[in-house]
């Protein structure tokens, strides 16, 4: 009997991906350890979908900045899951707290489908963006309970913002239950189509890091302001026509120059 553990030929690749590669086979099926690993991850993800964001703790992460709490028309998680239309609309009682102003950008943090994503990454990303946006007129930070992406249209319109960035918890996968996404929409108002938005997804420890995400988002924002549009007309390539100093920074600076 061979007692030597064979060299894992997949070892080199496992460092490059969290995909479940090289699992081995029991006949055609998954070996028992891989089968149970999968079931454990699925159980964790299902539990994560039903978690709740601590919005009070989140508000404390933006010292010196006005924070507004709102709720969508979906009263609870079960309604949220079955009625996305309600998650896209502001609860009527919340409108009064959103005062119209002269804003270049409004940021909305919504729980979406992963409370963990918002808890782990939203404050860091938003603060990293704010650091890069001196000269921009930024609306009060809006924290939205039971919110979907399009809730940002309603909020952005109420605030009178030229564009809205919605930071939202993405649907948990088996490998990652805390992935954050950002959707940027120019001239937000109810009825905007998904093709009129730009999306940055997979922001988490093993995906896009906070610094990279902040660079891309502020780069997209600058380009959106230049061409006065988001969506399929805003190609990410335009954001990356860079000098060595960092593409998005260059564009942001450019924009500021034009404004001054």
């Amino acid at each position: 009997m061979n007692t030597v553990t064979p060299l894992d030929p997949w070892a080199r690749f496992r460092a490059a991906t969290r995909a479940r590669i090289g699992l081995g086979r029991a006949g055609d099926a998954l070996p028992t350890p891989a089968l149970l690993d999968f079931q454990a991850a699925h159980a964790k993800a299902r539990d994560a979908v039903h978690g709740a964001v601590d919005f009070d703790a989140l508000a404390a992460a933006f010292p010196g900045r006005e924070v507004v709490n709102v709720q969508s028309a979906a009263a609870d998680r079960v309604t949220y899951l079955r009625r996305p239309d309600l998650g896209r609309r502001l609860e009527d009682g919340c409108r009064a707290s959103l005062e119209k102003g002269d804003y270049d950008i409004a940021f909305v943090v919504a729980d979406g489908l992963s409370a963990a994503a918002v808890a782990d990454h939203a404050a860091a990303l938003l603060n990293a963006c704010l650091d890069r946006l001196s000269g921009w007129r930024v609306a009060p930070v809006v924290l939205a309970r039971q919110g979907r992406v399009a809730l940002g249209d309603d909020i952005g319109a109420a605030l009178g913002a030229r564009m809205v960035a919605v930071l939202i918890g993405e649907r948990p996968g088996l490998s990652v239950a805390n992935s954050l996404g950002v959707y940027l929409t120019w001239d937000p108002r109810p009825g905007r189509r998904d093709s009129e938005r730009n999306c940055i997804s997979n922001i988490h420890a093993d995906g896009l890091d906070i610094d990279g995400a902040a660079k891309r988002l502020t780069g997209l924002m600058a380009e959106a302001r230049r061409i006065r549009a988001t969506g399929i007309t805003l190609k990410e390539d335009a954001v990356r026509l860079e000098g060595p100093g960092g593409p998005s920074d260059a564009l942001v600076a450019d924009q500021r120059g034009q404004e001054a």
Binding site: P9, W10, R12, F13, R14, A16, T17, R18, A19, R20, I21, G22, L23, G24, R25, G27, D28, A29, L30, A34, F38, A41, H42, A45, R46, A48, V49, L81, R82, R83, P84, D85, L113, E170, R171, P172, G173, L174, S175, V176, S179, G191, R193, D194, S195, C199, S201, N202, H204, D206, G207, L208, G231, I232, K235, E236, D237, R240
Partner: protein, 462 residues
């Protein structure tokens, strides 16, 4: 004004429009309830089916469910309808049409001749009168064969899309998932990546990566980066190695606008891909994905139930002679298909409707973590579809897509189905597996230890 009536027991049920009959006749699902279109109760549902069964199949030619004037998909469906092909079933009611489809007279050849005479609304209507068993029985007779570097859809074959997605498009990570899949005999339908970054530059990088892998191991298959169609057109202009052009599509002009596409953009993309002449055994160059709920989520469903509007997406697809079309059936979420019962039913409906219209249907047998479903349910749907003769299924490593955050089938699952049901890969790809020494004396793809080492050593030696 009520136009349609049926009496069940003591209750007289009435329906105001053909669209309402269609919606109420659909098996219960959360998306129709969300849209406010579903039957109020089970009895009303059966009453709607009674009404539908007695309507002439030709009613949909006289009465488009979405206005001809305002929707280019309706215009496509009406203008391309082949009255000659329709003639053999032109006098049937929808109920009679169901019975004929199940009869021995409706064999593969008859269904192939009929396809250009059918509209999406006709096949959606008849599917609402069918049990799951009926959907399987009829679909298994409808073969739709397409080709590029492999031939897909032949009797006795089950192809697969190898989906090596990575959350940051890391080339080594993608190569690893690709090699893993090849060792399971996956990838004969396509090796197709959903890119994390939807740009021309990122897509071009991935296209070159896949093309190198394919060339290096001389694999007879096609690759695809599932980026927006306008990106693919630009990539082609810049000289990138594009085999298939991908696009998500839906069943109304407004829903397609939500995806940022129109029929003319799709035609432009197809011409661009054809101009490269990269196919060896065929020239089907398009790859489409669809899914029930897409139109409603874009608020572009025109009051149609989600299954009927999904069938219209296949009407769009067939106009572009695609190599591959698949529904992403459980991907869109529980607000459209709440649980495994609804997902399984929808998967069988989508496959049936596509095949009857002459579309080369595959299915992404899948679910999300906020739906009431698990891998046991996917086993059921995949097995049913394989029996129904599905052209291809999608496989990811260990059933876990680490980029799109949902569960599909594992490479293991598709290989297991092939062995269980005696289904083989696409012929060109099967020959390659044989040349690579991956097929054992019993014709199975056994665990390939020596080959793993050979391939991985060769990869490491780059």
């Amino acid at each position: 004004m009520s136009r349609f009536f049926a009496t069940l027991g003591q209750t007289r049920h009435s329906f105001d429009s053909l669209s309402q009959v269609m919606a109420c006749a659909s098996p219960r699902r959360s998306g129709d309830e969300l849209a406010g279109l579903a039957a109020q109760n089970d009895e009303q549902r059966v009453a709607a089916r009674r009404v539908l069964a007695d309507l002439p199949l030709a009613v949909f030619l006289d009465e488009p469910l979405v206005p001809y004037e305002s929707d280019e998909v309706t215009r496509l469906i009406c203008d391309s309808h082949d009255a000659g092909a329709f003639a053999p079933v032109a006098s049937f009611t929808i109920g009679e049409f169901r019975d004929w489809l199940l009869s021995y007279a409706a064999d593969s050849a008859a269904l192939a001749r009929l396809a250009p005479g059918l509209t999406p609304e006709m096949v959606a209507a008849v599917s609402k009168l069918m049990r799951n068993q009926d959907l399987i029985a009829v679909a298994s007779k409808a073969r739709v064969v397409t080709a590029f570097r492999t031939t897909i859809g032949l009797q006795g074959r089950l192809a697969s899309r190898l989906q090596p997605n990575h959350p940051t498009d890391d080339p080594t990570g993608i190569a690893a998932s690709t090699l893993d899949g090849l060792l399971f005999g996956m990838g004969d339908a396509v090796i197709g990546i959903n890119p994390a970054t939807d740009s021309v530059a990122a897509s071009t990088t991935l296209l070159h990566l896949l093309d190198e892998v394919r060339e290096r191991f001389a694999i007879p298959t096609q690759s695809c980066v599932l980026t927006h169609v306008t990106n693919s057109i630009q990539a082609i202009e810049q000289g990138a190695p594009v085999d298939l052009v991908f696009q998500s599509i839906a069943g109304t002009e407004a829903a397609n606008a939500g995806f940022g596409v129109s029929l003319s953009i799709l035609a432009e993309a197809r011409d661009a891909a054809l101009s490269l002449k990269r196919g060896t055994v065929g020239d089907n160059v398009m790859y489409f994905e669809t899914g029930q709920g897409a139109a409603l989520s874009a608020d572009a469903h025109h009051g149609l139930d989600q299954q009927t509007v999904e069938a219209r997406a296949y009407g769009v697809a067939r106009a572009f002679s695609p190599l591959l079309v698949n529904t992403v059936v459980g991907f869109i979420g529980p607000e459209y298909l709440y649980d495994s019962k609804q997902i399984i039913r929808a998967g069988l409906e989508d496959h049936f409707c596509g095949k009857l219209l002459g579309v080369p249907m595959g299915v992404d047998v899948c679910y999300t973590n906020h739906a009431e479903a698990d891998q046991d349910d996917m086993d059921a749907l995949a097995t049913l579809l394989a029996v129904a003769g599905v052209n291809f299924l999608i496989g990811v490593p260990g059933a876990d897509d680490v980029m799109l955050n949902y569960q599909s089938l594992s490479y293991h699952d598709i290989l297991g189905l092939r062995h269980q049901l005696g289904l083989r890969p696409a012929p060109e790809f099967e020959s390659w597996l044989d040349r690579m020494g991956m097929v054992d004396s019993a014709g199975r793809l056994a665990p390939p230890e020596p080959l793993v080492r050979r391939l991985l050593t060769s990869e490491a030696g780059r």
